[in-house]
């Protein structure tokens, strides 16, 4: 069932993101201690496979998770259904992924 697949995809991406969010916040607090500059961030992230995988996974999970959530909100609050709903949901997923992936690429291997 399609609804079940979406439900599971949203739960699995949530599970995936929980440790990533904690890691993201922890590193942010740690890294910002002595002030933060663009150069400092880039010196840590550029060429780093680890940060690429960390934020790459994050972006992928967030685009799937967010798109499914917004799809439900749009469906239930705006009574949109059928092909239009799926097109809007896919657009949101692709847009979130593109924005996120560009940022990850820019700070790691660009």
């Amino acid at each position: 069932m399609f609804a079940m697949r979406l439900y599971m995809a949203q739960r699995i991406t949530a599970l995936l993101m929980a440790p990533l969010v904690i890691g993201h916040l922890a590193v942010m607090i740690y890294a910002v201690q002595d002030g933060l500059s663009t150069a400092e961030i880039l010196s840590r992230t550029q060429g780093s496979v680890l940060w690429f995988l960390f934020y790459g996974t994050f972006v992928l999970a967030a685009s799937v998770h967010g798109a499914i959530g917004l799809r439900t909100v749009i469906r239930e609050w705006l009574n949109v259904s059928g092909a239009l709903l799926e097109i809007v949901a896919i657009f949101i997923a692709v847009m979130l992924f593109t924005l996120g992936a560009r940022a990850v690429w820019a700070v790691t291997f660009a």
Binding site: A3, M4, Y7, M8, R11, R75, E76, N79, S81
Partner: protein
């Protein structure tokens, strides 16, 4: 039949036999037949589709099987055994209200655990917990587990 008197009383789903009435309207989330009478078929159809139905395996010639009240399954069933199918939970549900407007094919996974079912249940049952357990079973089954 007891449980058929549920309506929107003073804006919320209640049993009309137990409530002082200021305003009254037909039960929410169900098609109105006339005046205060609603067609409860959609409610029971979903119930049956969710397998909330008894499949008899014995005939009248078999002896009556003993019920072991200590088994897990039986203890779990106790939580909802006082349900009289009045559909107050169904009328209270905001997800049903918005989901049915679209297609209503989501099943238990479309529940947002808002808890109106549990808040308005006249016999103080906990349908929200029951749905949460259904989600757990469904999730296990999704990964190929039994039950």
């Amino acid at each position: 039949m007891c449980g058929s008197c549920a309506m929107m009383v003073n804006g919320v789903p209640r049993w009309t036999c137990r409530t002082h009435i200021s305003t009254i309207a037909p039960l929410r989330n169900l098609p109105v037949i006339k005046d205060l009478v609603v067609d409860m078929d959609p409610f029971f159809d979903k119930w049956i589709a969710a397998e909330g139905v008894h499949h008899g395996r014995l005939s009248r010639h078999d002896s009556i099987p003993a019920v072991d009240e200590t088994t897990n399954e039986r203890t779990e069933a106790n939580d909802a055994i006082e349900c009289i199918n009045c559909a107050v939970c169904y009328a209270a549900c905001d997800t049903v209200a918005s989901d049915d407007a679209v297609s209503g094919d989501g099943g238990c996974v479309s529940c947002h655990s808002m808890g109106s079912c549990t808040a308005y249940c006249p016999v103080e049952l906990n349908p929200m917990l029951a749905i949460a357990k259904l989600k757990r079973v469904t999730t296990k089954r999704f990964f190929g587990g039994k039950q």
